[in-house]
């Protein structure tokens, strides 16, 4: 498996090491592309938290100098949108665990698409403990992870898994186990993404957000040379979260909550 350059260095190091061990690396190519429509993807955690019924604040009001359409709680693509290159045949899991950092109220990345059998390595980067668990997963029960400590988990099989933290309600991560996934990339804030070393072959590029596939898949064929996908991948077809109620037309609406 090969990961995109946008990931943190440690996160990148592990898959790169794995790629070095894969035969036929000489035939790998760089694939570049771009996604659009990220601004339509609304972060489900943040959008749930802005509802009065969530009791997450005593007051919430917009800054009048920020344009109302920008006040939508859109996803932060570098961490939350995952572009997966899905091959035609089953892919072996990486020999080294895949790093996921925990800190700042979220995991990095938030959505992860992995091959079956991939071991995920959660590392706590916060100065206080976390208590991660897999929703409905007996094999990933709540357990404390101290600051700078880690714990590993291998999802049991293909499917969509959600990871939460008993000590941080805003922390939600999704792991999608896709047996055919060959590599993943994370777009930059401008939407561009890069697969550094993708072996020659036919792939389907597909975006994932909050554990769900978004947008239309795009078929690509990687040859000996680098490839640049000309048409951007639109990620607007499936938005998991409802639109911001303070969207254009409702700008300036203040929220008050609490007891």
């Amino acid at each position: 498996m090969r990961l995109a350059r946008r990931l943190p260095r440690r996160l990148l190091a592990l898959p790169l090491l794995a790629c070095a061990l894969v035969p036929g690396l000489a035939l790998a190519a760089q694939v570049k592309g771009r996604v659009v429509g990220v601004e339509k993807l609304l972060n489900p955690v943040w959008n749930e938290a802005k509802e009065l019924s969530a009791h997450r604040f005593t007051f919430r009001e917009p800054s009048p100098t920020v344009r109302s359409d920008l006040r939508n709680l859109t996803a932060y693509a570098p961490k939350e949108v995952c572009i997966a290159a899905i091959a035609e045949g089953a892919q072996p899991p990486p020999t080294l665990p895949l790093l996921v950092t925990v800190g700042g109220g979220r995991t990095t990345p938030v959505t992860l698409v992995v091959a079956a059998g991939t071991r995920v390595h959660f590392e706590n980067r916060d100065p206080f403990p976390h208590r991660l668990y897999g929703v409905g997963q007996a094999s990933f029960s709540p357990g404390d992870t101290a600051s700078l400590a880690s714990r590993d988990w291998t999802p049991p099989g293909p499917g969509r898994y959600e990871v939460r933290d008993e000590l941080a309600p805003s922390l939600r991560a999704w792991i999608v186990v896709e047996p055919l996934v060959a590599a993943v990339a994370y777009p930059a804030r401008d939407g561009s993404f890069t697969f550094a070393n993708l072996a020659a072959g036919k792939y389907t590029l597909r975006g994932y957000f909050a554990g769900n596939p978004v947008g239309a898949p795009r078929a690509v064929e990687v040859g000996a040379g680098n490839l640049e996908v000309k048409d951007a991948l639109a990620l607007t077809e499936a938005a998991p979260a409802p639109p911001d109620k303070a969207a254009p037309g409702k700008a300036g609406k203040k929220h008050e909550g609490g007891n």
Binding site: R6, P8, R9, N43, V45, W46, A49, K50, A54, H55, R56, F57, T58, F59, R60, E61, P62, S63, T65, V66, R67, L70, R71, N72, L73, T74, Y76, P78, K79, T101, G103, G104, G105, R106, T107, R125, D126, P127, F128, P129, S147, L167, A168, P169, S170, L171, A188, R189, H255, G257, G258, N259
Partner: protein, 553 residues
């Protein structure tokens, strides 16, 4: 002693009722104290919640200055533009500027930690929260509060980090109007005892904050023992199961240890989902018993007691008791003692039972009986009753109201004696000696002098025809005027005693009465050669009786 006994009963009931009322009053007082505490808690919760909200707004306003700080804005913008990591230069400059801004804040509004966050959520600079100072890649971007600020919102939140509660506010750092913010400025205030005491000082409420099943901070007015707030920890498990707490984040009033009224409220923010919140408490001043009022009273309380009426009632009760005691104890005892003294001095030969009431009458009667028996054993008779003196007294058909029980069989003889009929002589001076005991026993004349229910007559021996008529019509010596007056008194006494003994008095007239007295008087005068005869009313075995005593003076 009926009245006295009744009075004792009344007093006992009054005492019991008073004690009952005191305990009821204590219970009512406790209930009202608890109700007052309960009612006071609702406003307390609102006040605390309002304070937290206002405090958050005030603190968000304090973040305007750092969010507009040119150095901070520029350095955060540089960091946001850097894809890989926060530039070291931006980190240093932003930290310096942030520290200055923090120090410039008013003392009562200072934050425990300030963070400058770039658009990626990475912490560019921070003051406070030193445990994160050395962490590479430390960020806050995943928190909804920070995400909101990075999208142009100003809001507050409450975090629970490492078991501590943080009140957090954030606002965007904007480079140009209409554009997405370049970053955000975040301020955090630790909820500790200092915070709680300040909150309590401003709201006058006793408040405790809890998180992860533990009390993390508390503050209370001086009159409230903050140690009481430790009890909330033991109640948190039950609070978590409270449906109202689950749904609305607010419990009803819960009473701990009988006198501590508490309302629990979840803390808005992420703390809401982490079981963190605050408890507002009031201590109800309850009394375990009415005696505790004594130690709690004040001069004003004492002044509110109507001492005058209470004293008057107490005095009246005492007087009534004394009156009953005098009427039923002192006076009868005095009269009895006087009568006994007269008896001891020999002024009288026996006690006049009719002068006494109740048990004294019974004692007098028994005493008289005893005297008679003792006298009989001694061989003498201190006095003669009608039957002893006259022998069996005849039943007088014409005076049916005056029947002498046990004398019916001898009535004809007596009548003959009274009539002094030659054909039936009867030695008047010496009456047939009755059996000693019988002779000396008081004759229950009263039981025989009845108007409606005379005792069954004894078998009457045959007598010559017309003899009774002769006896009936035999003239008697007419009573003297003073004797008539005395007999009237005896008659009245006799009637009264009969009524007291619940004997019928219908048909009993003085005319009939005096005929009997006259005959008996004549017989006694003739027998004892006395000057006059004194009649006495007494009670014999529960019935009115009449005795005649010859007076020789």
């Amino acid at each position: 002693m009926v009245l006295s006994r009744f009075w004792y009963l009344v007093l006992a009931l009054a005492l019991g009722a008073s004690a009952y009322l005191l305990f009821v009053a204590t219970a009512v007082h406790n209930r009202e104290a608890l109700r007052a505490a309960r009612e006071g808690l609702q406003p307390d919760v609102q006040v605390v919640a309002s304070y937290l909200r206002d405090d958050a707004r005030r603190r968000s306003s304090l973040l305007i200055a750092p969010s507009l700080d040119e150095e901070i804005r520029s350095q955060v913008a540089k960091s946001s533009a850097a894809a890989d990591k926060v530039p070291a230069e931006a980190r240093d400059k932003a930290r310096s500027a942030l520290r200055k801004q923090g120090e410039a804040m008013p003392a009562d509004g200072r934050f425990d930690a300030l963070f400058a966050v770039d658009a990626a959520g990475r912490v560019v600079a921070q003051t406070g929260f030193d445990q994160a100072a050395g962490l590479e890649g430390f960020e806050l971007g995943g928190y909804p509060l920070v995400a909101d600020a990075l999208h142009g919102w100003v809001r507050d939140d409450a975090w629970v980090l490492g078991g501590r509660i943080y009140r957090v506010v954030a606002r965007p750092i904007e480079l140009e109007a209409g554009a997405l913010p370049a970053g955000a400025i975040v301020g955090a205030r630790i909820v500790d005892d200092t915070f709680a005491r300040e909150l309590s000082r401003r709201t006058s409420a006793a408040v405790g904050f809890y998180a992860a099943g533990k009390r993390v901070a508390s503050g209370a007015p001086e009159s409230f023992d903050t140690g009481q707030l430790d009890f909330i920890t033991n109640d948190l498990a039950a609070v978590e199961r409270d449906p109202a707490y689950k749904d609305k984040g607010l419990t009803d009033v819960r009473v701990l240890h009988g006198d501590l009224a508490v309302i629990y409220a979840r803390l808005p923010g992420e703390a809401w989902d982490l079981g963190a919140g605050f408890a507002v408490a009031r201590l109800a001043h309850l009394s375990a018993s009415p005696l505790e009022f004594e130690s709690q009273k004040t001069e004003a309380d004492k002044a509110a007691v109507p001492m005058g009426p209470l004293g008057a009632v107490a005095a009246a009760l005492a007087l009534i008791g004394l009156l009953f005691s005098v009427l039923e104890h002192t006076r009868p005892l005095h009269a009895f003692r006087s009568e006994v003294l007269r008896l001891a001095k020999g002024e009288i030969e026996q006690l006049t039972a009719s002068r006494f009431r109740g048990v004294y009458r019974k004692i007098a009667s028994d005493l008289n009986d005893g005297i008679e028996k003792v006298a009989a054993k001694g061989g003498g008779a201190r006095r003669a009753d009608l039957e002893q003196v006259l022998g069996p007294i005849p039943t007088q058909p014409a005076m049916s109201a005056f029947a002498f029980p046990g004398a019916a069989d001898a009535s004809s003889d007596v009548a003959a004696t009274s009539a002094t009929t030659p054909s039936a002589p009867r030695p008047l001076p010496v009456a047939p000696p009755p059996p000693p005991m019988r002779a000396l026993e008081p004759t229950p004349i009263a039981s025989s002098i009845s108007s409606s229910a005379p005792p069954p007559p004894r078998p009457v021996p045959p007598r010559p025809p017309g003899r009774a008529e002769e006896a009936d019509v035999e003239p008697s010596t007419q009573p003297l005027p003073e004797e008539m007056a005395e007999w009237l008194g005896v008659f009245d006494e006799f009637v009264r005693v009969k009524q007291q003994c619940s004997e019928p008095t219908e048909g009993l007239t003085f005319e009939k009465f005096q005929v009997t007295l006259r005959k008996n008087r004549d017989a006694l005068v003739q027998k004892h050669a006395c000057r006059r005869v004194k009649f006495t009313v007494y009670v014999k075995e529960g019935r009115a009786a009449l005795k005649a005593s010859p007076v020789r003076e």
